[in-house]
Subunit: 277 residues, 2 copies
Amino acid sequence: MDVIHTVKGLRERLSREPNNVFVPTMGNLHEGHLQLVENAKPRGACTVVSIFVNRMQFGPREDFDKYPRTLQQDCDKLAAIGCDLVFAPDEGEIYPEPQQYAVEPPEIQHILDGAVRPGHFRGVATVVLKLFNMVQPRAAIFGKKDYQQCIVLRNMVRQLALPIDIILADTVRASDGLALSSRNGYLTAAERAEAPALYQALSRAVAELKAGAKDFQRIELQQMAILAGRGWKPEYIAIRRAQDLGQPEAGDADLVVLGAARLGVTRLIDNIEWRLP
Amino acid sequence: MDVIHTVKGLRERLSREPNNVFVPTMGNLHEGHLQLVENAKPRGACTVVSIFVNRMQFGPREDFDKYPRTLQQDCDKLAAIGCDLVFAPDEGEIYPEPQQYAVEPPEIQHILDGAVRPGHFRGVATVVLKLFNMVQPRAAIFGKKDYQQCIVLRNMVRQLALPIDIILADTVRASDGLALSSRNGYLTAAERAEAPALYQALSRAVAELKAGAKDFQRIELQQMAILAGRGWKPEYIAIRRAQDLGQPEAGDADLVVLGAARLGVTRLIDNIEWRLP
C-alpha cells in the first residue's frame, strides 16, 4: 500500500490507474470506514482512501483541534484489508492559499446539521470537490451515518456533472445499536452506556411510522423529550423526505428519521431510513 | 468534424480522446474565437469547441434572448480550420433541472463587470466548471478580451485543484483597433465607426502610464469624460493589478487598464495589459 502526502505524487501515481474508487475520510478509522473500503474494492482496480481533517468544515467553536489524528494506526488497518493507496495530505497541500472559491449548496445546507453548524456543508462540498479533482475517481463511497452529507454530495455531483458514481453505504453499528463514529471516542464510560438511546429514539419513531402514525411533529417532539429527560441536549429529531430532506408531503414514501443530540460535550448524530408501504 | 448535442454522446466520443484541448464559447464565432481554436490545435490530440449560450450568466434585463445563434455558420467555420469536435448542447443538457449548486467566486465577482452584471461571474464559473466536468480537457483556452472572466476562471481552476492548464490568448482586433466581439453585430454603421474610441481611450490611459503618470483616478475619470463627451455611457475605466484586478499598490508592475461603456444599446468591453518598467 502506498501512502502519499502530496497532490503531485498522487497525480503521478494515479496517472497509471484510470479506474480508481475513492473513500474520503477524516481518519481515526473504525469498522464503519473499513466497510466503505471493503465496499470499494470490487468496484475498481485501485482503492484510494484520503485522510484529511478539513478545517473548512469545522465551526470556530467545534472540535477541529481535538479531532483524533491516528495516521499510523489508520494505515495499518487499511493495509491489512487490502487498500491500495492512502492520500494523507497536510493542510498546505489542500489549502496552499486561503480558500476563496467555494461550492455553494442550496437551502439544504442551512437545515438540520447545517442550522447547528453554519458553513459546515459548504466546507464539506468544497473539500470533497477538490479531493475529487485530485483523485479523479470513477466512483466514491460515503457512509449513510452522515445522511445529510450524503444528500449534499450526491446532489452536488449530479448538478456539477461530475463523472463519478456516488455509492451510499449502510451505517455500521455496535452490537447495542450505537452508530460507529470517531466522536464516540469522546464519550466517558457512563456516556457510552447511555449513547444507544439516540438510536433507540429513532427506532421508536420508525415504529410509530410503521404503525401508521401521521402526526410527525408529535413523534419528533416526543422522542426529543425522552432524550432530554435522560440528560441529553437534543438538537433535532426530524422525519424527512429521504431524497432531499424536505418536509414530507402526501405521497412521499421514502422517508428518513434523523437525529442529533449532545451527550455531555459530545455531539452524536444518527438516522434510519424508512419506506412507507 | 463531429457535432455532438448530448453529454452522453460527448462522454462516449471523448473516452477515446484522453488528450483534448477545450475552447468554450457562446457561438456566433468571429476571428477571435477562431484564433483560440488555432491556439488549441497544436496543444492536444483533439480540439473541442463548445457552443452554448448560458442563461445563468445573463441578467434578467440583458440580451440572452437576442444573443445571436448561428450554429450552422459556426460549424462551417470550425470545420474549415480543422476543429475536431463541436459540443452544442441545448439548455436541457446543461441544466436538466434548476441549477442549485453553484461555484461562488470571491469578491472579484462583485467589482467592475460584476458590479454592473450581478451574478454574471457566478454563472460563468458554474457553467465552465460543468463544461470542464463534461469535456475533461487537459487544457482550456480563453480570450483576454473578457479579462475579468479569465482571472475568475484561472483562479477557480487553481483553487478547486482542477487538473487543467488555463491558457489566455491575446485579444484579436479589427484594423481600426476595435476588439472583436459577438456584440459588435448589434452596432449600427455609425456606432461601428465610433466604436474604436473605447480602445483609443484605453490606449491613451496606457500612454500616460508609460509616460510615468501615477494619478490613476485622474487618468480613469479623464478618459471616461472623453467617452461621455462623444455620446457613450461609460461604466468604468479602471487601472488595476493584472493578477487579481485589485487596486494597484506601490511595487505592482503588472497592470491592466479595463474599460466598459455603452454605445447606444450595445455594451462593449475592452482592456490593455501594461507592465510598468
